[in-house]
Symmetry: C2
Subunit: 285 residues, 2 copies
C-alpha cells in the first residue's frame, strides 16, 4: 500500500472522535475541561535522513517536526515521548535531543528503546495543551478568506544543498510555536508546511472543497530565480493558514492568495489550475 491507501484502510478501524477522521496532523483528547493536542511522527533512515547525517541534527528535527504540528494547532507543548532505535551515534542523538528540548522549553516524558537491525527508525509523540477553542484544524477555510504563510519557503532546500546561511534551516528548523499560539484565535484553518507549500495548499484546499488561488509573485521564497522549486521543497516548517481578509494578524505573515469557490482543481497557481497533486511537493510512499 502507499500512504493514502494505508490511511484509507485505517479509516475502517474504530476511530476516536479526536482523530477527526485522520484528516488532521494531530489528535485531540478533551479531558477535565482541557484539550490535549497529540502528534506522532516517525523519521526513517534513507527517507528522512541520510546514513551519514549527524544524529544530533536528526534528533533536533524529530523534535522540531513534532512541535511544528503542535504549533499549527496553537498548542502549548507539554512534553515528548521518544521511540529510539539504538545503534547509531546514540550520544550525538542525546546531545541534539537535549539541545532541542532546551531550545523549545519542552521536557521528556518517556519512551521506548529498541535494538534494531539495518536502517534506523525514530519515533516521537508530542503532547501539548490547546490554548484556543475551537482548536485550529486543516478544515475551516472559507471562501473569501485570505491565505497566508509565515517566513520564507525554500530555505531548507538551499541549506540541504550546502548554502551556509541556510544550513540551519535544514538541519535545525525552528517550529513556529509562538506564532501558532498568537494565530490560533485569528485563523479559520492552519497547518504546518512540511511537504512543500504548493502540495500543502493543494491538500488544504482539497479537504475544504474550495480552491486556493495563489499568486506566486507574492510567495516569500528564499531564491526568486528558483521560486518554483522553493514552493515545492519540504522541510520548511512554516505555518500555512487562512483568515478573514479583514483580520489583523498578531504576527507577520505573507498574504499569498485567496480562497475561492471550488473550481476544476484545488489549486489555481498564477491563473493555471493544478489538477493533480503530483509534482507539487514531497509525497510519502
Amino acid at each position: 500500500m502507499n500512504e493514502p491507501e494505508f490511511i484509507a484502510a485505517l479509516r475502517s478501524l474504530p476511530l476516536h472522535p479526536g482523530a477527526r477522521n485522520l484528516d488532521d496532523d494531530c489528535a485531540l483528547i478533551t479531558i477535565g475541561g482541557e484539550t490535549l493536542v497529540i502528534n506522532h511522527e516517525m523519521m526513517a533512515e534513507d527517507t528522512h535522513f541520510l546514513p551519514d547525517a549527524d544524529m544530533a541534527d536528526v534528533a533536533w528535527k524529530l523534535v522540531a517536526s513534532n512541535l511544528s504540528d503542535l504549533a499549527a494547532k496553537g498548542a502549548e507543548p507539554i512534553g515528548v515521548l521518544l521511540g529510539h532505535s539504538l545503534g547509531r551515534d546514540d550520544a550525538r542523538f542525546v546531545k541534539g535531543l537535549k539541545e532541542a528540548l532546551v531550545a523549545f522549553g519542552v521536557s521528556l516524558l518517556g519512551g521506548d528503546t529498541v535494538a534494531a537491525t539495518g536502517a534506523s527508525t525514530f519515533a516521537m509523540t508530542a503532547i501539548g495543551r490547546a490554548t484556543h477553542h475551537p482548536v485550529p484544524a486543516r478544515r475551516g477555510a472559507r471562501v473569501g478568506d485570505a491565505i497566508y504563510v509565515t517566513g520564507t519557503v525554500g530555505r531548507a532546500m538551499l541549506g540541504f544543498e550546502g548554502a551556509a546561511e541556510h544550513r540551519d534551516a535544514f538541519n535545525r528548523p525552528q517550529p513556529r510555536i509562538i506564532e501558532g499560539l498568537a494565530l490560533a484565535p485569528v485563523v479559520t484553518a492552519m497547518m504546518d508546511v512540511s511537504d512543500g507549500l504548493l502540495l500543502d495548499c493543494w491538500r488544504m484546499a482539497n479537504l475544504n472543497r474550495v480552491t486556493f488561488a495563489i499568486d506566486p509573485s507574492t510567495v516569500p521564497v528564499a531564491d526568486r530565480a528558483r521560486a518554483d522549486e522553493c514552493m515545492r521543497w519540504g522541510d520548511d516548517y512554516e505555518l500555512l493558514f487562512t483568515a478573514s481578509h479583514t483580520a489583523t494578524l498578531p504576527v507577520h505573515a505573507h498574504r499569498i492568495g485567496a480562497v475561492i469557490p471550488s473550481g476544476i482543481a484545488p489549486l489555481l497557481l498564477g491563473g493555471a489550475f493544478m489538477v493533480s497533486s503530483a509534482n507539487l511537493g514531497y509525497q510519502h510512499g
Copy 2:
C-alpha cells in the same frame, strides 16, 4: 550505547515530572483534575518479530504490549497513535490492528506513516485515563508486602515453540486491563511482566531497594518440568504486584513471595541470592 546507558544519558535531559525519572513504563500528565497515563512502545523486525511473522499478529502484539503497560497503572484506555513503516503486508497489519482495537475496546487517535527501507519498525503510543490515585507505579513496594502475579508464566514460550494450546498466548496476548483496574486501589507497586518474571522481580526490587524473596514452587508456570525457563521467558504480559499480605484481592492472583529488607541482592530465589540480573530474562541491546 546499550539500553541502560542510553536511559542514563536521557536522565541528563529536561525531564517532565510525570516522567518519574524514567523509572516507570508510563508517563503521567495531570490536567484539568484528571491524570492521563501514556505509554510508548516500539517493535522492530528481527528483535521483536521474525521477518516471516504474520503482520496481523505483529499489529495485535503492538497494541497488546502497549495496553499491558496501561493495565499495570490501572488506566482505562482512551486510544492509540500508530507509527507505521509501509512496505510489509500492510493489509494484514490493518486487519490485526482492527481486531485488537475491537477486542480491547480502544480507538485509533492518529499516527504517522513512513516509507522505510530494510527491516521494519513500528511504534505505538497508548493513552489512558488513571482511575485511581496515586497511580500504581514500579515504586512503592514495602517490606512485609506479599508479591503476586496474575495468570501463568511460560505460556508465550510454549506458544512460540509451537504448542497449539498456547499459540495465542504468544501471537495474541491479552493485556490484563480489567485486572489492572480492579487491582489499582489495592497494590503498593505494580508492573507488567514483559521481559520475564524473574528479571522483572529483580528490577522492581532493585528500584525499591528491597529484596524480593520468591518461592519458585508457588510460581504458576505453564510447564512445571521447565519452571526455570517459564520464569525467565518474556511476552507473557501478566501483572506483577505487591500488596499488603492482609489485603483481600479483587481478582485471582498467585502469591509467589514476600518483600524483605534489602539483602545482598534484589532477588532471593528459593533461598539463593541472585546478585546479577543476567540470565533472569530478556534484556534489550
